[in-house]
Symmetry: C2
Subunit: 606 residues, 2 copies
């Protein structure tokens, strides 16, 4: 069984710094919800996550890639075969309570702060993003039910999910409608007993079938006939793989049929399926259609699903950050131990070769990875901290501000790690040279796995439209104002600190001002298509401004700490301000000009 060193999965020193020194997680333990916890209990949970990630998840990460889930047919029924380590790793994590780390004690959760849950999750994602995928979906599913389900639905479905006996999925896309949810056609026919019967096909369903536990809880978007067209006619249904009896006993097979698997470039450990609902393979209760239970209000399914979706988007960002991070650590380790060549000016072949980390270009590639990976992880942890603020801060005003800021940051927390974490993994390959391109090393798999992240849970383009078309303009631009206020607070502290921090603060201040100016200029345009034509460029520029802020804020949290760790953080912050932040200048100029190149281009010309 391959052995991956814990120190090459994530950095405990960095997590300690981010959670305690920077995000002051211990302060949360004064709040009612978290009084059972102390710094010690938090650290113990993180150590447990690190141990399980290292011992239970990392060892089969490569096997997830080389022996991907298979569709097998037994008794005319298609099933998914996973290799056994997937199930045992998930069971261990569930038994340790780590699936329900942030959930209420009353449903069996550890009731830890969300920011700690994000860090716990990052360990598993860095160790084995494919296996963790099942857990991530299950937890998001349970969270949605906690928010929108009836007490009876919660009691029936949530505890077995948190115990690892049931798993969850989210079923949005259909073959004819990927990102375009308004065009969903799956229908849910009401029955006199208050249940529904579903008919339709769902595409791209991660974890859509397997035999990891006793049951699978699908949360499915569908239309009740006679409802409004478009997104307003969409409702949310709970459709289990097996019906469940009054005492929780597994009953009849529901009519959810596995039709096929998608064979992916990476992220292979998480099976991805096409499911048919109500095609007639099974007839639960002797009737046609898959039995479904309405969750929340009819016609409000999309809003409920977005509860899960926002969480899933930050989870995708966390996964991208975690993959970037482990690739960074592995390539740094390689660079420290691989001898090759000599520095410029000392080319005498009689002298010994130096470890490649001594070459400036290799250090550049490592610093860039460090800036991307640590910046991305810090952002998603910051978002986790905002979830805690949103839910538990003392005043409604603080909670509201946290909510607005989180809403604005969510598309960035999803897309920035996905874009730059992938770039980090590409640099990790490059540091390894030819070895990095072979499957004998880990980094090419991380790169392939990470390439999914700009696609699922809303593509890069969807996030861009969400940020520029919605988040920074709704409520008179309150979302952007919340961001600017948060950045300004950091800039002010940097000014008082002086030195390099003040210089970086001044650069960040200029970039932020310009972002605000450009946002106004773009929204001054009356034509919706023109406003949004370059939304992806806006997303990327705003993302770099946000990460510069996150780096400056980390820098300030170092105080006068003076060790290798602090020097490394300062070097990465400096890298980001020198090599990365200046990239936004031309992007914002392009946006300010409302450049019409793309719109002017006829499809016939391409």
């Amino acid at each position: 069984m391959p052995h991956v060193k814990r120190d090459l999965i994530l950095s405990r020193a960095d997590l300690r710094f981010l959670l305690h020194d920077w995000l002051r997680v211990e302060d949360l333990t004064a709040r009612d919800r978290f009084t059972e916890h102390t710094r010690e209990t938090i650290d113990a949970v993180l150590e447990l996550a690190a141990d399980l990630a290292t011992e239970q998840f990392a060892p089969h990460n490569k096997r997830n890639d080389t022996e991907e889930p298979e569709l097998v047919r037994t008794d005319e029924v298609a099933r998914v075969r996973l290799h056994p380590e997937v199930g045992s790793a998930l069971a261990t994590a569930a038994a340790a309570g780590l699936l329900s780390a942030t959930m209420d004690a009353e449903v069996g959760g550890l009731q830890l702060p969300h920011v700690v849950g994000t860090a716990v999750q990052a360990w598993f994602q860095a160790a084995n993003v494919g296996t963790w995928g099942y857990a991530m979906l299950t937890v998001a599913n349970a969270n949605l039910l906690m928010a929108h389900g009836t007490p009876e639905q919660i009691a029936t479905w949530v505890p077995p999910m948190l115990e690892g006996r049931y798993h969850g999925t989210m079923c949005l896309s259909e073959p004819q409608a990927g990102s375009s949810l308004a065009d969903l056609t799956t229908r849910a026919e009401p029955r006199p007993d208050g249940t529904y019967r579903l008919h339709g096909s769902k595409m791209w369903i991660s974890g859509g079938d397997h035999e990891l536990g006793e049951n699978i809880v699908h949360l499915v978007l569908a239309r009740i006939p006679g409802g409004e067209p478009g997104t307003k006619g969409i409702s949310l249904f709970l459709v289990p793989k097996y019906l469940v009896g009054p005492n929780g006993e597994t009953g009849e097979r529901n009519d959810v049929t596995l039709v096929g698997l998608n064979h992916k470039m990476g992220y292979r450990g998480t099976v991805n399926t096409l499911l048919n609902f109500g095609e007639g393979t099974f007839s639960p209760g002797g009737e046609a259609g898959a039995v479904g239970y309405l969750v929340g209000t009819a016609g409000r399914g999309l809003a409920a699903m977005f509860h899960m979706m926002n969480e899933a988007r930050i989870g995708v960002g966390a996964g991208a950050a975690a993959l970037a991070y482990t690739g960074f650590l592995k390539s740094a380790d390689y660079a420290r131990t691989r001898p090759q060549g000599r520095p410029p000016g000392s080319k005498d072949p009689a002298t010994p070769m130096v470890p490649i980390i001594r070459h400036a270009d290799v250090r550049r590639m490592l610093l860039a990875q460090k800036a991307y990976a640590e910046g991305a992880l810090a952002l998603v942890l910051y978002c986790g901290r905002l979830v805690d603020e949103e839910r538990t801060a003392e005043t409604p005003d603080v909670r509201e501000r946290a909510h607005r800021l989180l809403e604005t940051l969510t598309p960035i927390a999803k897309s920035w790690p996905s874009q730059w974490g992938l770039e980090a993994n590409s640099l990790a390959i490059q540091v390894h040279g030819g070895y990095g391109y072979t499957r004998e090393y880990d980094v090419e798999q991380h790169y392939r796995d990470n390439r999914l992240n700009p696609i699922h849970e809303g593509t890069h383009g969807i996030q861009a439209a969400d940020l520029l078309g919605r988040k920074v303009v709704v409520d008179g631009g309150a979302g952007l104002t919340a961001l600017v206020e948060a950045i300004s607070a950091t800039v002010d502290r940097a000014r008082w600190t002086g030195g390099r921090a003040a210089d970086f603060g001044a650069a960040l201040h200029r970039a932020t001002d310009r972002l605000v100016e450009v946002t106004a200029a773009v929204h001054g345009c009356p034509d919706a298509e023109q406003r949004l034509a370059n939304a992806s460029v806006y997303l990327e520029a705003a993302g770099h401004v946000v990460i510069a802020w996150i780096w400056l804020d980390q820098l300030l949290a170092l105080g006068d700490r003076d060790d290798d760790f602090a020097s490394g953080k300062r070097a990465a912050a400096r890298y980001f301000f020198r090599f990365e932040l200046p990239k936004v200048g031309p992007q914002l100029d392009l946006l300010a000009s409302l450049d019409p190149t793309v719109l002017d281009t006829s499809p016939d010309w391409i």
Copy 2:
């Protein structure tokens, strides 16, 4: 057998434009070397290449990926098993004379211009870069022998290579010395009969073993004992897999042993091997060591190998451009046919969905791909044209200028398509959404295949050091001067043309001036390590300036042509000038400041 439409491999319309309207290839037929050719014969060869690429190469591209070369042992000897389509495709191309398209008629070549050979090659690379790898290495090997071999060596080895009976490799890297050729240890012991016996290991040898033909011709860098240390003590040897008798008959097995295969992320069709020379598996003539024949002068092996290497580097750039191009065509085709969603401002779900090419963000991704793919292909064809100038222009002065310009452009022609062709393939995946991430579509393979290109034949970092540390400074900066003169000529023509071309010309002029200024500033620094610390940023900035020039020059060649093709070219040029060229501003500012962030970072901090 999967069918790939020819129009989705490369664009014949674009090749006609690039070769005839832009590079005026027909003019070459007035020169002695090419008098046998006309526009018609050139076009006929290109059509032949297109047909063979479509019918013989494209159909097994996916099979190369899913059934990669295998190491099998028979009679205690390790062999490589390839599936049969590889051999038959290569044999067909060789029989059609396309391996020797540019070579002298006297060795059986078609004696076509090099620029036409580059276009021929691009068809095969776009269709199946893995299978074409064997041909590319064989042709480069034959070209090296034509330049440096003795008449007897040429007569023995070159014709069977061009006929597809023998194949070639280049053996540089060793396990302990990848990019660091000064540290090669393979030794070549002289024998009284003038031959040598080689002992050592060579790593990353593409096409290092297989049974595609009768023999494999390895060109191997090794040291003759007693020679100088470092690169000056390196000589070049021809080491065949099988010795060859006086009449060309295949003789005894030479002591070249296949030790293992590297299993790659992509580019799997081209087998990559570890070879041992002289380990004692075979004893040709009853003696120890692999029999080798010195090629060229002892101690001058590296210079001879670089003859092959420069050609191989442009070949890598051509391959990267070709992969970008086919990915672009396939994603444009998908975008034209896949309905999804509606434009902003017309969200009524009762209206039909539109093809996704109607969405601005999808057109942005297609335009970017077009700008990268067509820009990259144009650059490598331009380099091919320079090879023809270098060899056949009327005056020594013109030949010398072409040589200098080619030398300067070579690291860019290798690295720019590798970097941005990969980005194009990533965008091709993104246009396909989830489908693009599955192995059911072609684009994820192109992306994986293309990821090799920034690594092999000199990494990105090696190209950067070559450009900034050597090419732009040797001979008093004559290489940079040659580039600036070529750019200035285009800028002058753009000024006369007026309109948008003049605006783009002015922007290019400013960027070029700044590049020259920054080059001088960097080389004003006395410390070699500091000069080269940000060389990769220099390579990227210089690359963007060069591609902007290539786009402006294409734009001028369109004249007043007014059809969809010309409109598309203009849109892509405009995209490059608006979205891409401005990126060099911050890069050049960073370089001008001799930013020491990377150098200041201690390895202990990472």
